[in-house]
């Protein structure tokens, strides 16, 4: 499968950074074309820096980055005609209405009236924005504004879409609508680079994932690859009283309210589940979630704040 985005030893140190701490350090990554590639990590992990370099919005310090075979520094013009981006914390221009945001963006990219109108109608429909099409952006909720921005880039003719935390602030239904639109976009063989704080979102959408921590690539691969790389790929949840000593013999024990969570290898997980059932305890078993993998690799939850000294990047 060909690469949509490729980086080699990519590093970024922001000018004026007192500690010279790299926001990205020695990042070598391959994003395959035609799929959703999820980038996860805590605040300050380097996700947005990576997106901004690849989307030609930010200069790199060393190494190289290519989009669809074009160097982001020396062939930026070739890159730009093939990409579209929803930046982190971006807002649609408040005096436009929803339809104008999408339509005028497409016109700005050079599409003719008929094509821009057709794509606008489709995108608004896909993201259930048709009923709001005449509503000024300033009268929309935060979630509808993010959805409008998603409609804008999904309606574009770009081959590679950068979505930097596109569903932040959306309610669960709206998130699902964006997910559906993203899935449809990949059916058109477009590549989507998605950064997100929502691990369920990354898992639901991404064919491949990269986990960033402190500017470095901690892990990358398909969700199955990631599971295979952790020590305990299965999780068993037991409700009720238990012997900690016994459960520890199966794997890693994490006490939870009203029971225990045990991370184990498959044979031990099956054995533990069987025993718990025999004792009449409520038990559930399944592969580890992305959140479990994140905790094991990073040692902290994704929503745990980075200490100030580390967050400079």
């Amino acid at each position: 499968m060909s690469s949509a985005i490729r980086t080699e030893h990519l590093s970024k140190i922001y000018p004026g950074s007192a500690s010279r701490t790299p926001a990205l350090a020695d990042l070598t990554l391959d994003v395959p074309a035609g799929r959703v590639f999820g980038v996860i990590g805590r605040n300050g992990a380097g996700k947005t820096t990576f997106v901004r370099i690849a989307a030609t919005q930010l200069e790199l310090t060393s190494g190289r980055a290519e989009v669809l075979g074009y160097d982001v520094m020396t062939q930026a013009r070739d890159v730009r005609v093939r990409i579209a981006c929803v930046p982190q914390e971006s807002r649609p221009l408040y005096f436009l209405n929803v339809e104008e945001v999408v339509y005028l963006y497409l016109k700005l990219r050079g599409l003719d009236h008929a094509e821009a109108r057709r794509r606008t109608t489709e995108a608004l429909d896909e993201l259930s924005l048709t009923e709001y099409r005449r509503r000024p952006v300033q009268r929309l909720s935060g979630g509808l504004r993010r959805r409008t921005l998603c409609a804008m880039v999904l309606a574009s003719d770009a081959d590679v879409l950068f979505l930097d935390e596109p569903t932040t602030g959306l309610d669960p239904i709206a998130r699902r609508q964006v997910w559906d639109a993203i899935r449809r976009a990949t059916k058109e063989q477009r590549t989507i680079l998605l950064t997100t704080h929502y691990l369920d979102e990354a898992e639901a959408l991404s064919a491949r994932l990269a986990l960033f921590e402190r500017g470095r690539l901690a892990l990358s691969g398909t969700p199955e690859d990631l599971r295979a790389r952790v020590r305990y790929p299965f999780r068993v949840t037991i409700q009720g009283a238990y012997s900690a000593e016994e459960l520890t013999s199966y794997g890693r024990l994490t006490p939870i309210e009203g029971g225990a969570l045990v991370f184990a290898r498959e044979p031990e997980a099956r054995e533990l589940a069987r025993r718990a059932l025999e004792r009449g305890q409520r038990v559930s078993m399944g592969p580890v979630t992305l959140e479990d993998i994140f905790l094991e690799v990073v040692g902290r939850a994704i929503d745990e704040e980075t200490p100030p000294a580390e967050a400079e990047a």
Partner: protein
């Protein structure tokens, strides 16, 4: 991007930043005309009508300069608060197209102000073929170098509040202290030398000469044009090489 698409992009930016906001909030038009008309009114009252022509010429130069430099606030706002510039960067729209479209969109705001000034210009009998040609050339140059300057600055500002600090300074240095609203001869000798560092001095000298307010020899006019064009070229070069389209 083809030439046709570039024009389409420019037209779209004019619509985005010029036509739609005016439709939403027509008072933008009033705010642009307020300052130059205030000066004109003040000069008319104080001089009992005698220096009205200076107010008229100065008002047109100030309007075009305000339109140009006023771009810095919009661009800074769009860049930092809306991330619109990042959206544009990651698209086929090149930096010169963005500047051209945004600068033209600002021009839309100035049209009513210019219409008032042009009406007065014609009414008071200053409109001749040569004066209109000179005025048009000068005003276009003032607008274009003001826009290039504004774009460059906007890429360095980190917050729109910084533009609020700079705007009155630009207004003072470029339109109040230089002899835009009065003849340069009113200034003391040292101030006349200082005024020569402002491009608007040359612009004012040309428009004041074009309507016969000040005697202007062909040599002086030639020098004024050269300086004005050189200023514009220098500011365009600075914009091309020093403006930060992509963040460092």
């Amino acid at each position: 991007m083809s030439e046709r698409n570039r024009l389409r992009s420019i037209g779209t930016l004019v619509r985005i930043n010029g036509i739609v906001p005016i439709r939403t909030q027509p008072f933008y038009l009033v705010s642009i005309i307020a300052q130059p008309l205030s000066f004109l009114f003040f000069i008319w009252i104080v001089s009992r009508g005698a220096d009205l022509a200076y107010g008229l010429m100065g008002g047109m130069v100030l309007t075009m300069l305000s339109v140009g430099t006023g771009l810095q606030s919009d661009l800074t706002h769009y860049r930092h608060d809306m991330k619109f510039q990042d959206v544009v960067i990651a698209s086929p729209v090149e930096a010169p197209i963005y500047i051209a479209g945004m600068a033209l969109s600002e021009l839309v705001y100035s049209l009513p102000a210019l219409a008032v000034f042009v009406a007065l210009f014609v009414y008071y009998g200053y409109a001749t073929v040569s004066s209109v040609a000179i005025l048009t050339g000068v005003l276009l140059l003032v607008w274009s170098f003001g826009s290039a300057f504004a774009f460059t600055l906007s890429t360095y500002f980190q917050d729109i509040r910084e533009t609020w600090a700079f705007s009155p300074i630009f207004s003072l240095v470029l339109t109040v202290l230089p002899p835009v609203y009065y003849p340069i001869s009113y200034l003391p000798a040292w101030a006349q030398i200082a005024a020569r560092f402002s491009p608007t001095t040359y612009a004012a000298e040309l428009v004041q000469g074009a309507v016969g307010l000040q005697p202007l020899t062909p040599t002086t006019a030639e020098i004024d044009w050269i300086v004005l064009v050189a200023f514009a070229a220098a500011l365009f070069l600075i914009a091309a090489f020093k403006a930060r389209w992509r963040d460092p």
